[in-house]
């Protein structure tokens, strides 16, 4: 043991008189009296602990005494202070907790809050205090739901209602064209209103309904491309929950357009072959699983190629 300590003691002694050099040393475990760095640490921490005690910061003081005790396990003073402080801290914590809980039981939330805050000041790591303070804060906040800045909220509601819900003037302007089926007029009036009241749900709703009606109208008239354009517009306005239905609708319109293009392609096969090829190709792209479209497109395409080879010229339009 002596042999192992010897180099360390020598090192410690040298270090004590040599503050500035980058000296080398071995791990030491020597009494603070023989180790100036350790002695300085112990002295500094003791002073700090006493200062903290005087300021009433007992938990922090105890922490400093614990450092002292670990650095110098034989130090009696630190052990005494740790024991005394622990006793005082535990007693005060119990007292604050009891006081807070009693106030809470009587519905005296402010008093309870003060008691738990005192507990938290005493011991910043006390989770019981934080849990109770948070519960009080939540209760106060929920209880104050009706006591919000009433004037402000009334203004807020009025603003939102004005901008997002309805306007008699707007309703009056939009109702008649809606009933008459003048959907473009409805869109126009809604757009104007939305410029002034960007969040208006009512106007957004009317606008969306008008576009949906235009989709149906266009489909009924066989104007499928137009219907698809309207569908794109509605999709931009739609919420996520509406999107699957709109996608399904768009798929149906694409199939209808494919059927229309197929019929048109067949109808112009003899008179305008390149147009027929173009229309059949688009029908295939819109409904790739339809074998009839594919077959007709292949035939038309082949005819076009053959004509090109024979005549060296494009088919007559």
């Amino acid at each position: 043991m002596k042999q192992r300590l010897l180099p360390a003691i020598l090192t410690g002694l040298l270090l004590a008189g040599c503050n500035t050099s980058n000296s080398n040393w071995e791990p030491v475990s020597v009494p603070p009296g023989n180790d100036t760095a350790l002695a300085a640490f112990v002295t500094g921490k003791k002073q700090l602990a006493k200062d903290l005690e005087l300021k009433g910061r007992l938990v922090e003081a105890r922490r400093e005494w614990r450092y002292v005790s670990a650095a110098d396990p034989k130090d009696e003073e630190s052990r005494t202070h740790i024991a005394d402080l622990t006793e005082i801290i535990d007693a005060r914590k119990a007292e604050y907790l009891k006081e807070g809980d009693a106030a809470l039981a009587k519905g005296q939330t402010r008093q309870a809050q003060a008691a738990f805050l005192k507990l938290l000041v005493l011991d910043p790591s006390d989770e019981d205090a934080v849990t109770r303070l948070r519960k009080i804060d939540r209760t106060l906040a929920l209880g104050n739901q009706g006591k919000k800045d009433k004037e402000a909220l009334s203004d807020y509601r009025a603003t939102v209602a004005r901008e997002q819900d309805t306007s008699e003037e707007f309703e009056a302007q939009v109702n008649v064209p809606m009933k008459k089926g003048d959907y473009r007029k409805v869109i126009d009036v809604s757009d104007q209103f939305l410029k002034r009241n960007p969040g208006s749900k009512s106007a957004t709703g009317y606008r969306k309904s008008a576009y949906i009606s235009l989709i149906d109208e266009s489909r009924a008239k066989g104007r499928y491309r137009e219907a698809l354009t309207y569908l794109d517009t509605v999709s931009e306005m739609a919420g996520d929950d509406e999107k699957p239905a709109l996608e399904e609708k768009a798929r149906a319109v694409r199939l209808e357009l494919a059927g229309q293009l197929y019929s048109q392609g067949l109808a112009v096969m003899n008179s305008n072959l390149s147009k027929a090829v173009e229309q059949l190709a688009e029908a295939v792209s819109l409904d790739p699983d339809n074998w009839r479209y594919k077959q007709s497109y292949n035939q038309a395409h082949k005819m076009q190629e053959n004509l090109g080879r024979i005549g060296g010229s494009k088919p007559k339009n």
Binding site: L14, S23, N24, F41, L48, A70, K148, D155, Y156, D241
Partner: protein, 337 residues
């Protein structure tokens, strides 16, 4: 043999160290720190020549960014070789409560902005007023923090600067991008923009491209303000049953999905429309892992505030600078010892 070797080592060590004392020219390899004592709560080490709070934090706390715990425990930012250093192994929570009161963090709530001096209603703060308010924050030493910092503060994980404030903007009006964003960029202030998903892309609302651009700036955090901007509290004819829960769930879940997929990030913060909430709404937000949710009840937020019912101060067009200054109070004084 062993005794001889030990003597030799001692003599060599003595010679080397003595030489170092005499000339201060001899440089030896930087020694590592060594443990003096260890408990479950802390470790005492003798600092090596190259040790700093960061190197010690890396060695003993597995994270050099936790160095503040070491500087605080030793009231020092540098160490001399051989100095005994206390390293707390358990990070103390920062509840920012002291004997004279506690810190509160105000959250400002804006809605719309009008160009120049324009303010068409109480909810529309003029560009000039907003600029003046931001300049005042800067000139008066406020640090604008984001809601993630706020969440860390509420968890006791992070202390915020004494004058910390959060800026939020509700609804997602286009004026957020046109007017507020350039001013926020000018001052380098972060802000949270709460949007309700049904509003996006309509009329004068923000577009996805604008929101993405603001997010990419690193200053703006786009978060949820429900689907349709309906109250989350029980409506007059509503009962607290499954239909109500379903409605509230839809108001929370739909924008969560839309915003996270469009913006490519998780949505973690929520603003209750009109500031109205209920235990049901709070419980759904908690289940879905939301970090914070804000109301419009006035007042600052202490570190022990419930993160799912935070207070905010709405800023109005007719507010004077003196009103604004009241909104950003950062301390509640109280004798607590």
């Amino acid at each position: 043999m062993t005794r001889t070797l030990t003597r030799l080592v001692s003599a060599m060590a003595f010679a080397v160290l003595a030489a170092g004392c005499a000339t201060e020219q001899v440089r030896v390899e930087a020694p590592r720190d060594t443990v003096v004592a260890r408990t479950d709560d802390f470790v005492l080490v003798r600092a090596g020549a190259m040790d700093t709070p960061r190197t010690l934090a890396k060695t003993y706390l597995n994270d050099e960014n936790k160095f503040a715990a070491i500087t605080e425990a030793n009231a020092a930012e540098t160490f001399t070789p051989g100095q005994i250093v206390a390293i707390p192994l358990r990070t103390a929570k920062a509840w920012t409560v002291d004997a004279d009161g506690y810190q509160v963090v105000p959250i400002l709530c804006y809605h719309q902005f009008g160009a120049g001096n324009r303010a068409r209603n109480r909810m529309e703060v003029s560009q000039n007023a907003f600029e003046q308010q931001m300049a005042w924050l800067k000139d008066n030493g406020y640090t604008v923090v984001n809601l993630s910092d706020m969440h860390a503060f509420l968890s006791g994980e992070k202390a915020l600067p004494e004058k910390a404030v959060v800026i939020t903007i509700d609804d997602g009006y286009r004026s957020t991008y046109d007017i507020a964003f350039p001013i926020l960029k000018k001052y380098g202030f972060p802000a949270t923009v709460y949007v309700y998903s049904d509003f996006v892309g309509g009329g004068m609302a923000l577009t996805w491209a604008q929101m993405t651009e603001m997010e990419d700036s690193g200053l703006i955090d786009v978060e949820s303000h429900s689907k349709t901007h309906t109250s989350m509290a029980l409506l007059p004819k509503e009962t607290n049953g499954p239909a109500y829960k379903e409605r509230i769930t839809r108001e929370i879940v739909t924008p969560d999905g839309v915003l996270s997929s469009k913006l490519g990030k998780p949505i973690r913060h929520f603003a209750y429309p009109y500031g109205d909430t209920s235990p049901t709404a709070m419980s759904i937000l908690q289940e879905r892992g939301y970090a914070t949710a804000t109301t419009v009840q006035r007042g600052g937020n202490p570190s022990f505030a419930d993160p799912l019912i935070l207070r905010r101060d709405m800023v109005y067009s007719d507010d004077k600078l003196s009103d604004f200054q009241k909104y950003v109070a950062v301390r509640v004084d109280m004798k607590l010892r």
